[in-house]
Amino acid sequence: MNTTTAARWIEACEADAIDEEDVMRFDHDGHTYAIYRSPDDEYFATDGLCTHEQIHLADGLVMDHIIECPKHNGRFDYRTGQAKGAPVCVNLKTYPVKLDGGKVFLGLA
């Protein structure tokens, strides 16, 4: 953990609550996040709303390392938050994730 960012680790869910190559919504302190489990069994987290029209990404489809918005199919690489083309052009913010005791924790600044 990078002490200069002083992240708080927030418990989000059980690790096995998310299927491989899937996503789950997590709401905390008035903010919505999306937590991903990749096909190679790693966990990632991003802001929960699409940067195009504020739609919940957790209702979208995960294919490989891409989350696709359920409204207009804007695509992001959920590992980096990078927008992958029209209609989305603004990247998603990402958050650090750690597993501890079979649970997923989000690192919030």
């Binding site: 209702d59 489809l61 359920p70 409204k71 207009h72 199919n73 029209a86 052009c89």
Partner: protein, 416 residues
């Protein structure tokens, strides 16, 4: 390759979704020459889907949802000339003529002129008493009519009419919706799903007059009166017609390009002039998933996908366009999504997605999945419709029981 082997100048006529996407896609494909978008509206390219939704209902005065910021246009070296109507295409000289007399030379030309609202041909209907919705300016004009307590008559039970009805109810206007066909959405949506939408509108207080013709429109003091074929007389404060769209083919026709329910293009979106392409609502194209059936689609996703595909073809690509048609509509808390062509189906299998959401799979006579239509909260239906779209593109013949059983993940069928 045809024409100039190394094209220097790409011109896009039409500053809508297809044209803007094509201009960007030319750059994304590495084209370094001139890219010019000509639009007859003054605005930079903007998204049209919100015009019948958020632009009418948001509390704040709406802003156009621009697709390209000035910075992005600059960054990509794309010239957008707004308010510059094209009057003619000179194919021999490879020039477009603008209304102000200027002529611009092209090596490849993309026509992405879209469609215009079909006008009501009825006794008493005038440009003053009947409003239409196609542009941002028209959306602003409509919005000002949707006042609480105002009575709005909507003519046409298609997507535009229904989204307008939902927007008007959201603004507490009273709504009567008149449709000639015996049910809503008769062209594109299966009856069972149209019935769910009809029930939702009635629950919201919209008065539906289905299977109902209109005799004429007359003045009623400062208001209007619509005389129906049933003898009913509807007195209202505003009339909006959403009775379909007509492809903007005038320029192409005058240039001698082939027309067939829109500008006729081949699988590469090329017209019968190898240096001229067409994309989006204005063109009809053969679809390989449906036996090369010629389609003209009025849909946002198709406009985007066409823009991308046309750019590649303009640069010499030979791929045939084959994206699965996909469409959505938002009304109240419901989203409707359709992937594929439901009218190609001979049998329907229904998956219950919970919360009143429903997904119908349409299977052809040979059992192949050709379409999926769904209605419900967007979050309930979107993922499965997206997977259905991918299954349609793979031309799968799915096991019916797996489609119905919600414990079977559709994603699993993709691998098979």
């Amino acid at each position: 390759m045809t024409g100039a082997a190394q094209p220097e100048s790409m011109i896009v006529i039409g500053a809508g979704e297809a044209g803007a996407r094509a201009a960007m896609a030319l750059r994304e494909s590495g084209f370094a020459g001139r890219v010019t978008i000509l639009g007859d509206e003054a605005h930079r390219p903007y998204e049209r889907p919100p015009l019948s939704k958020a632009a009418l209902t948001d509390a704040a005065e709406p802003q156009a949802a621009f697709i390209l910021t000035p910075d992005r246009l600059d960054e990509h070296g794309i010239t957008h000339l707004g308010g510059r109507a094209v009057t003619a295409i000179d194919r021999a000289a490879h020039e477009v003529h603008l209304a102000d007399g200027e002529r611009l030379r092209y090596d490849r030309l993309l026509i992405a002129t879209g469609a215009r609202a079909r006008k009501l041909a009825l006794p008493g209907a005038t440009p003053e008493n009947v409003l239409y919705l196609r542009t941002f300016e028209e959306a602003r004009a409509l919005r000002s009519r949707l006042a609480p307590g105002a009575h709005i008559a909507i003519i046409g039970g298609g997507f535009i009419g229904l989204e307008l009805a939902a927007a008007a109810r959201a603004r507490d206007a009273d709504v009567t919706l008149i449709e000639l066909a015996p049910r809503l959405l008769a062209r594109a949506v299966p009856a069972a799903i149209a019935a769910i939408i009809a029930a939702r509108h009635e629950a919201a207080g919209v008065r539906l007059r289905l299977g109902t013709g209109i005799e004429r429109i007359e003045a009623e003091g400062e208001r209007h009166a619509i005389l129906l074929s049933t003898g009913e007389r509807i007195v209202c404060d505003g009339i909006i017609a959403g009775i379909g769209a007509v492809a903007e083919t005038g320029l192409a026709e005058r240039a001698g390009l082939a027309i067939d329910n829109g500008i006729a293009v081949d699988g590469r979106l090329a017209t019968n002039d190898p240096d001229i392409f067409a994309a989006g609502d204005c063109c009809s194209f053969p679809h390989p998933l449906y036996g090369d059936r010629r389609l003209r689609l009025e849909a946002w996703r198709n406009a985007q996908d066409h823009g991308n595909a046309a750019a590649k073809s303009m640069l010499g690509g030979s791929d045939a366009y084959q994206a699965v048609p996909w469409f959505w509509s938002d009304q109240y808390d419901l989203t409707l999504q359709i992937a594929g062509l439901a009218d190609e189906g001979r049998e329907t299998v229904t998956r219950d997605l919970g919360d009143g959401a429903r997904l119908d799979f349409h299977l052809a006579g040979d059992g192949r999945l050709v379409a999926a239509s769904a209605v419900g909260p967007n979050g309930r239906i979107a993922r499965d419709v997206r997977l259905a779209e991918m299954l349609i593109g793979k031309r799968v013949t799915p096991d019916r029981a797996s489609l119905v059983d919600v414990s079977v993940k559709l994603k699993g069928l993709l691998a098979g």
